[in-house]
């Protein structure tokens, strides 16, 4: 049984091509995974810069640095880039690298489509970011782009925004198809579905969510395109349409989208906690069922983003109850992670720090989510900084921290070098402190009455905003430390062993570090 292809059988093969063509034409899941990860990191820094522009303006009451119109472009593009350019591609990159290794497959099922899925993204985001430099300015209607602000009242660049969304959506759909085909068809013999690692399970379910809802987003932006250019009135009441239709279609995509952004994180955390507690994941079956329940429920809660829209009472009640229900499987997962820790034998290397912080901080985000689910209370929270606090807790100290944890966790397998543990811990603590100082006060600014998406604010919000800005800058600048750590670890460092971590389990830890360009040419047997 060979985990590594023998290097000398034939002459053509095996190392990667040289030069830029290696990256343009590669069909190798490891190369493509690396490209997704570097791309997502660049997008993260770009989106982060926009966040710092926002926070600089909001440091004090008054308008100091930017015009309100440009501020709206910053908030809009910060959201679009982080959601579609940073978080999603990072998870796809991790899937590309790890899913074939975890199931004992030599590559993804559709390697050429894999290449296309990646290369669409730099084009899509160049187009999107270029709109900021156009005369009309870039998109300024929020990442949720409600009509008619995004149709009748949109800047000319909106058409490029629509095309960029279509492109990124196509990339996601193709990537999802690839993941499902790979997981369902290419698992090593003996690896039944209920023996798959959790990251594979969570990505399988995420891929179904993507296929279900990315076309809905495409529908929403196409209806926008038609309203703007072809005289239709999907979202225009004067032509018989309805602006609220936009919100229903958008959020039917939008809610599963946020679960798309967290389910892979759940998988990562399950791996890291069990490895560093040196104990099997508690409740594997429940974790699978809970993930599936969350995915199913994610389709029937969308209008909790629309509680103030004037829905009929029956609808409002239904969405409130269904939304409250999602807390149950999510709670089950948290309890199972803590039970995995319980009576383990834990060490606290950097990946474990990020995973533990995830459980702590994502749960706080979950609490504010439960509060938001209470529809009458939401009348006071909706479109305020309370919501901003909630989603940044689940997305930054949730999804993003799981990505950081995953990178530290798997980097030695990718590069063959251990990252600098001291610097990794420093990156963790700066990020942890930064994120909490930035986002915890936002609960209070929201409760005090501060709306979202405003460049200037009344005096009672000043202190909270000042703290948030300080935290944001600490967090933002410490990501440059992360960049340094990554660059170092790709070039030199202590050599990593095959197992890397003492408690590691799974096929991915049986290949050498760094993983050879081709692995599992022969499928391993799984007991």
């Amino acid at each position: 049984m060979s985990a590594v292809i023998e290097a000398h059988h034939d002459d053509h093969d095996h190392g990667p091509a040289k030069g830029i063509t290696r990256w343009l034409y590669t069909t190798n899941h490891k190369d493509i995974g690396s490209m997704y990860l570097w791309f997502s990191f660049i997008m993260f820094l770009v989106g982060g810069l926009m966040a710092l522009v926002i926070r600089a303006e909001l440091f004090q009451p008054g308008l100091q640095f930017v015009e309100p119109a440009f501020f709206n472009q910053m908030t809009t593009n910060h959201g679009l880039i982080m959601v579609f350019g940073a978080i999603m591609p990072a998870f796809v990159g991790l899937a590309n690298w790890m899913v074939p290794l975890m199931i004992g497959a030599p590559d993804m099922a559709l390697p050429r489509m894999n290449n296309l899925s990646f290369w669409i993204l730099p084009f899509a985001f160049t187009m999107l970011i270029s709109t900021l430099f156009m005369e009309s300015g870039g998109p300024n209607f929020g990442w949720t782009f409600y009509a008619p602000l995004s149709t009748t009242y949109a800047p000319d660049s909106v058409t490029y925004f629509i095309f960029a969304v279509h492109l990124a959506g196509a990339s996601s759909i193709m990537g999802a198809i690839n993941i499902i085909a790979t997981i369902l068809n290419m698992r090593a013999p003996g690896m039944t579905l209920m023996k798959m690692p959790m990251f594979v399970w969570t990505w399988l379910i995420t891929a179904y969510l993507l296929i279900a809802v990315m076309p809905v987003l495409a529908g929403a932006v196409t209806m926008m395109l038609f309203d703007i250019h072809f005289g239709t009135s999907f979202f225009d009441a004067s032509g018989g349409g309805d602006p609220v239709l936009f919100q229903h279609v958008f959020w039917f995509f939008g809610h599963p989208e946020v679960y798309i952004m967290i389910l892979p994180a759940f998988g990562i955390v399950s791996h890291i906690i069990s490895t560093f507690a040196r104990k099997p994941l508690f409740g594997y079956d429940s974790m699978v069922y809970a993930t599936a329940s969350i995915a199913f429920l994610s389709f029937i809660v969308w209008a909790h983003h629309m509680f103030t829209v004037g829905m009929p009472l029956a609808g409002e009640l239904f969405f409130m109850y269904a939304t409250m229900l999602i807390a149950v499987p999510t709670g089950v997962k948290v309890f199972n992670w803590v039970s995995t820790m319980w009576r383990g034998s834990m060490t606290f290397e950097t990946p474990m720090l990020f995973a533990l912080a995830f459980i702590f901080l994502f749960t706080i985000g979950g609490f504010s989510g439960l509060m938001l689910a209470i529809a009458p209370a939401d009348f006071q929270y909706h479109d305020t900084y309370f919501v901003v606090a909630h989603f940044h807790y689940v997305l930054v100290s949730g999804a993003l921290f799981s990505i950081f944890g995953a990178v530290y966790f798997w980097l030695p397998k990718w590069t063959g070098y251990m990252y600098d543990e001291g610097l990794g811990k420093l990156h963790f603590w700066l990020s942890f402190i930064g994120v909490n100082v930035a986002f915890f006060p936002m609960h209070f600014s929201g409760l005090a009455g501060m709306p979202r998406r405003i460049p200037d604010y009344a005096l009672q919000f000043a202190d909270f905003n000042a703290w948030s800005t300080v935290g944001a800058f600490v967090f933002g600048l410490s990501q440059l430390l992360f960049l340094w750590i990554l660059v170092q670890a790709t070039r030199a460092g202590k050599k990593a062993t095959t197992e890397v971590w003492e408690g590691s389990e799974g096929l991915e830890w049986t290949v050498p570090s760094p993983a050879p360009y081709h692995t599992f040419a022969e499928p391993p047997k799984v007991s």
């Binding site: 008054g62 308008l63 309100p68 709206n72 209607f141 929020g142 409600y146 008619p148 602000l149 009242y153 225009d236 009441a237 004067s238 602006p243 507690a277 040196r278 104990k279 099997p280 508690f282 409740g283 429940s286 103030t308 829209v309 009472l313 109850y321 409250m324 807390a327 709670g331 089950v332 309890f335 803590v338 039970s339 820790m341 009576r343 383990g344 034998s345 834990m346 060490t347 533990l356 459980i359 702590f360 749960t363 609490f367 509060m371 209470i374 009458p376 209370a377 009348f379 006071q380 479109d383 305020t384 409760l447 709306p451 979202r452 998406r453 405003i454 200037d456 009344a458 005096l459 009672q460």
Partner: protein
């Protein structure tokens, strides 16, 4: 060992309660109780779900903390091998469901109350514009009687930092909406252009103003005063600069004010005669 756990647990619980208690007491960190029955009931729902979350948090984070201290390799802990328990899974599925069902009852009650817009004493149309509000007082046939715009009145110099910011910076307008207290006021909300949203935190009232559609809401303000809110739906460049200011006055004072709006000269003459 046992005393270590219990003193640790006590420390965790004590600090959690201290923190949460401080938050509850410090009103400036919390949602306002407001001046209507609805706003007060909303705040109570908010505090209830908050305390439930605090309780769950103390349990979960407490367990994590204890585990991180006791179950460390450095402390010599050996890893156990248990990895499932159907009983536990059932327990921590069913108990949360029960908690949620218990929470759903009061939440439903308040929502039903919020939706009961009938039996109103007066009707006001609220129309959102880029970037100001228009208020129209309507009679029983919903014909417009009094109508005016309400614009941000904070001077630009304050925004640009050229002069000192006033106390109600960004929350002041030229013409306030005036309504009587102890009166069920029904609002009809719409927009002239994009979606806006009308929010007064002290009323517990937020409703989107959607072009081409009419939304309903109602309020019954118990205490006279000036209540300030903002637009809460991104509506373009001056979304942050179109505040909502409502002055709630006793009924008699409202009647006088309203009469003056209807017929300024007659009201002035009456005032002079008195």
């Amino acid at each position: 060992m046992m005393s270590k756990i219990s003193s640790l647990a006590r420390a965790v619980l004590a600090s959690a309660f201290a923190l949460a208690g401080a938050a509850a007491v410090a009103a400036e960190y919390n949602m306002p109780v407001g001046v209507t029955d609805v706003s007060r009931e909303i705040q109570e729902l908010h505090m209830t779900i908050f305390w439930i979350c605090v309780a769950i948090g103390v349990l979960v984070f407490g367990a994590m903390l204890v585990s991180m201290i006791l179950h460390r390799k450095a402390a010599g802990a050996e890893p156990a091998t248990f990895h499932e328990s159907t009983k536990l899974e059932l327990l921590w599925t069913i108990i949360p469901i029960v908690i949620l069902v218990v929470m759903a009852y009061p939440a439903t009650d308040v929502l039903v109350k919020i939706y009961d817009t009938g039996g109103e004493d007066m009707v006001v149309e609220v129309r959102g514009y880029q970037w100001k509000w228009q208020y129209k007082y309507l009679d029983e046939e919903l014909n417009e009687q009094v109508s005016f715009f309400s614009n941000l009145s904070t001077p630009r110099q304050q925004i640009l930092g050229e002069s000192q910011k006033g106390e109600n910076y960004l929350l002041e307008v030229d013409n306030e909406l005036v309504i009587p207290t102890d009166t069920k006021v029904r609002f009809l909300l719409t927009s002239n252009d994009v979606i806006h949203s009308w929010w007064v935190p002290d009323f517990g009232l937020k409703r989107d103003a959607i072009p081409g559609f009419i939304n309903e809401a109602w309020v019954n303000v118990k205490e006279p005063g000036v209540y300030r809110g903002q637009c809460t739906e991104l509506c373009g460049k001056d979304h942050g600069f179109m505040p909502v200011v409502v002055r709630a006055v006793p009924k008699a004072e409202f009647e006088q004010w309203y009469a003056a709006q209807l017929d300024p000269s007659a009201a002035a003459a009456l005032a002079m005669a008195n």
